[in-house]
Symmetry: none
Subunit: 174 residues, 2 copies
């Protein structure tokens, strides 16, 4: 279905704003100053568009509605990236990352604590061991096993534990 009138478009959410150009130039200015992610629908007769930042994209009318949705998705992803989510681990062992969350087992939570605290940096295996087993860790690779379980718990979260050989582990966006 071809789109000529932007008012007929229903985006997936209301975070990304559609704006006509050049008709709604003043509204575009306002959205820019408020740093709202926006998709500019350029009139068929107008000059090519030049976005001012990475939260702005454009498409020339007429266009397929599916194409508009695709660009809205891209803008939404960029806005999410820009907002720089960081993981957070509460006392109740709830690990949150953006809109995702999961309940950790006690041992997993103790392991995750230094990883979250030093998000993006390497945590040594000895630090992990001390955090996970304050009384001294029981056997050789129980740490690795717990790490594996924590990894599995993070599946689908956008977080991942990456290993730095002979240095330790990093918690990072995957």
């Amino acid at each position: 279905m071809a789109v000529t009138d932007p008012t007929r478009i229903e985006p997936d959410g209301r975070d990304v704003v559609l704006v006509r150009w050049p008709a709604e130039d003043d509204r575009l200015d306002e959205l820019r100053t408020r740093a709202v992610p926006r998709l500019v629908l350029v009139a068929s007769h107008a000059d090519p568009f030049s976005p001012v930042d990475d939260l702005e994209d454009w498409v020339r009318l007429p266009t397929a509605e599916a194409d508009v949705r695709a660009r809205v998705r891209t803008l939404r992803r960029r806005a999410a990236d820009a907002s720089e989510r960081i993981p957070e681990l509460a006392d109740d062992r709830l690990l949150r990352y953006g809109c995702w969350w999961a309940a950790l087992a006690p041992a997993e939570a103790r392991l995750a604590e230094p990883l979250v605290a030093r998000f993006g940096a390497v945590v040594s295996r000895s630090d992990l061991a001390r955090a996970g087993w304050p009384e001294g860790l029981p056997s050789r690779n129980s740490l690795d096993v717990q790490l594996g379980r924590l990894r599995r718990r993070l599946e689908g979260s956008g977080l991942a534990i990456r290993t730095v050989r002979s240095r330790g582990c990093v918690l990072a966006a995957s």
Copy 2:
């Protein structure tokens, strides 16, 4: 003038690469790993496109040539912004460059250290050898092999090691 055949398009420079999709999917993969800024020309019948990073944009054919030029300009500006980053190597062997990062192997990290410290300048092979093998390097081409491995590790980072014949190597933005 409407554009249906991308081979007829002459971009302003040759830094941003035009690629047809889905016809040239494999070439697109290669450009992505090389972190080359690219404009994807989506066939009229194909599904909407979803860029994987900010150095990728797309437009559906047929389109006005002026629109293609506008998107190429945007990509070029983004690439220029991205090229202002400088790499950083922490002692936990994490090499960071903008939002990209990778964990280096021990020998790779020793090699990378002088290259990062003198980013953009030539480092002699003897300096590299001293940095990589403080005890004296083991055999003839172990240095070259490690350099090759380090090169491969940098794929997709936007960094590259270039050789200056009989002078040494340079670490630079690719």
